[in-house]
């Protein structure tokens, strides 16, 4: 890469991220649905499953506190899905070819695309937390914990966005990206998102939830809300998200090279 291309990189990232954000803001469904739906689900679950807190061994007396981690995960899924579909649309519509005809670097494209996802991650994480607290959720680790929670939620959201980006680049169609959505949801349901792992009675479910990386992301967030500072839970959540980010970024970069065939 030339020196010129290096100095142009920040400007390219800025332009592409600006475009990604503008695109999100101009599709209200992309903004409202991913934020509203998890909150509605939270309200439904909290009123419907509150009795679960009576179970011996349930870690908290408030199902809202317990379930607060779920919207962060669902929001991350939606953001990843929408971001991936936007990218797939660029590929299918030929816009990526147009970008490829400019001196744009592949890194700038990835960073710009993920910039949009980061934007969604920040907005929705702040909103979920604000709504949760407004409705009486208590954060056991206080203000510092809330800040760590936001950081973790954003990192998780970013990890999912990297996955969505990879699928879009690899498959190149919006349908393929959408096809992964149910899989994501199954992954979420087969985790400890809705029930603590040690209270799951079905052996297979407990095993799946134990091996499901999503469990550890959820438990990281949850630990901050209901248990207090838990170094191990946080290390696992941040660690798994970081591994996912690195892995899917590397895979995305490779898929982009194939996708962005330029001589």
């Amino acid at each position: 890469m030339t020196a010129l291309a290096h100095s142009a990189l920040p400007s390219q990232v800025g332009l592409l991220a600006g475009r990604a954000i503008r695109r999100i803001l101009r599709q209200p469904a992309q903004l409202v649905f991913p934020i509203l739906f998890p909150l509605i689900l939270l309200a439904v679950n909290t009123s419907g499953l509150d009795a679960a807190t009576q179970l011996p061994g349930f870690p908290t007396a408030s199902y809202l506190d317990f379930a607060l981690a779920i919207p962060f995960m669902q929001g991350a899924l939606f953001a990843a899905l929408n971001g991936g579909q936007d990218l797939a649309r660029d590929i299918q519509g030929g816009f990526l070819d147009r970008l490829a005809m400019t001196p744009m670097s592949g890194a700038a494209l990835l960073a710009g695309q993920l910039g949009g996802a980061l934007f969604m991650g920040v907005i929705s994480a702040v909103l979920y937390l604000a709504v949760g607290v407004a409705f009486g959720a208590g954060i056991a680790t206080g203000v510092a914990g809330a800040l760590v929670l936001l950081a973790l939620a954003i990192v998780i959201s970013f990890a999912f966005a990297c996955f969505g980006t990879f699928v879009a680049l690899r498959a190149g169609t919006g349908e393929a990206v959408q096809g992964f959505f149910p899989l994501f949801f199954v992954l979420l349901f087969l985790s400890s998102a809705f029930f603590p792992r040690d209270l799951i009675e079905q052996d297979w479910f407990a095993i799946v939830a134990t091996y499901n990386p999503v469990s550890y992301m959820v438990e990281g967030i949850r630990s901050l809300v209901i248990a207090g500072w838990d170094g191990q839970a946080l290390a696992q959540a941040f660690g798994i998200s970081a591994i996912a980010i690195v892995a899917f970024l590397a895979l995305s970069a490779r898929a982009l090279r194939t996708r962005l065939v330029r001589t």
Binding site: R19, R23, G94, D97, T102, R262
Partner: protein
């Protein structure tokens, strides 16, 4: 310093999976400032050639230089010298016209101050000033094409590639685009490589035409030379009295072979020795006492050339090409 503006292609082959040769050994040369029309049916290999020349696909074998740079080895330099409007307009439906110009200008490395001015200027030239702040999703097909063209011109390319630029456009939009392309070549010395499946487009716009069929160039030359090479003009007449058809046919027989007329009720003859015979024809008809209501001389078309070279007519000659996801792209843009 004079900048290289030509295209030079030698033995270009592009093979796809399964051994399909979309481009099968093409040689061509386009001079600076020339409009070169690449004419052929769907699936003939036009778009594949454009993708190779614009560095979006590496060639399988053969060599091509664009603006003096090797498309396989000096991609970045080629891209900096060319502007490209591909067959499917490549726009972001969520961005406005001027946002497109700013994004493209920024990625092209045009300084910020110049970006806005140049963008506005081009939008004005393609007649989109009034729609500059509307999202591309609200544009008509013709407007999308024009924005696509403006984007391709933003960095002042020396060579412009247009892949079927008028497919799906109404007559008015098509004519406007032709005028702009002709102006670019005439006034700015831009070299234009244009693919089309429309005979008229190649005929009207191109200085030179290459006819491509099944991945190879079957004929090349100026439209006039190509037509003169393969086909002779036809004279077609309608007698005033329908009963005189036989007499008219007999009078015309010495001038050439009778062919199927374009309109029912008329008589057509392909002239053996060209349009010079017209005066003799009129005299012969007069001597045979055939009163003529209408007499027309048809010059051969590029379709005649295509027919002579391939044995098929260009219209309806679309080949079984690997399906392009064109419809999908249209949907995605809608």
């Amino acid at each position: 310093m004079t900048e290289e503006r030509g295209i030079d292609v030698q033995g270009l082959v592009r093979e796809f999976k399964g051994g399909v040769r979309a481009v099968d050994g093409i040689d061509l040369r386009v001079a600076a400032g020339e409009i070169y029309g690449f004419l052929g049916p769907n699936g003939a290999g036009k778009s594949t050639t454009v993708k190779v020349l614009t560095t979006l696909l590496p060639p399988t074998t053969g060599r091509a230089t664009v603006a003096g740079y090797d498309v396989a080895k000096q991609g970045a330099k080629v891209r900096a010298a060319i502007g490209v409007a591909l067959q499917d307009v490549a726009l972001d439906p969520m961005l406005t016209g001027s946002e497109h110009m700013r994004l493209q200008g920024g990625l092209q490395g045009i300084p910020r101050a110049e970006r806005g001015r140049r963008g506005d200027e081009l939008l004005e030239r393609v007649g989109l000033s009034d729609a500059a702040d509307r999202k591309a999703s609200t544009y008509s097909g013709g407007m999308k094409r024009r924005l696509d063209l403006a984007l391709a011109l933003l960095h002042k390319p020396r060579i412009l590639f247009l892949d079927e630029p008028t497919t799906g456009l109404d007559v008015q939009s098509r004519t406007a685009l032709w005028e702009e392309v002709a102006r670019l070549a005439r006034e700015e010395g831009t070299t234009v490589f244009l693919t089309t499946q429309y005979l008229e487009e190649a005929d009207v716009l191109a200085n030179r035409v290459g006819i491509i069929d099944r991945g190879t160039i079957v004929a090349e030359g100026t439209p006039a030379a190509l037509k003169a090479q393969v086909a002779k003009p036809t004279v077609e007449l309608v007698p005033r009295d329908g009963g005189e058809c036989a007499a008219a046919s007999a009078a015309l027989a010495p001038f050439g072979e009778a062919v199927a007329p374009r309109t029912a009720g008329s008589i057509a003859v392909r002239l053996d020795s060209g349009a010079d015979q017209l005066a003799d024809i009129v005299r012969a008809l007069d001597q045979a006492n055939v009163a003529v209501m209408n007499l027309a001389l048809h010059e051969p078309t590029l379709d005649d050339v295509f027919l002579a070279k391939t044995g098929r007519s260009l219209e309806g000659a679309a080949q079984e090409a690997p399906p392009e996801p064109a419809a999908e792209r249209e949907r995605a843009l809608a």
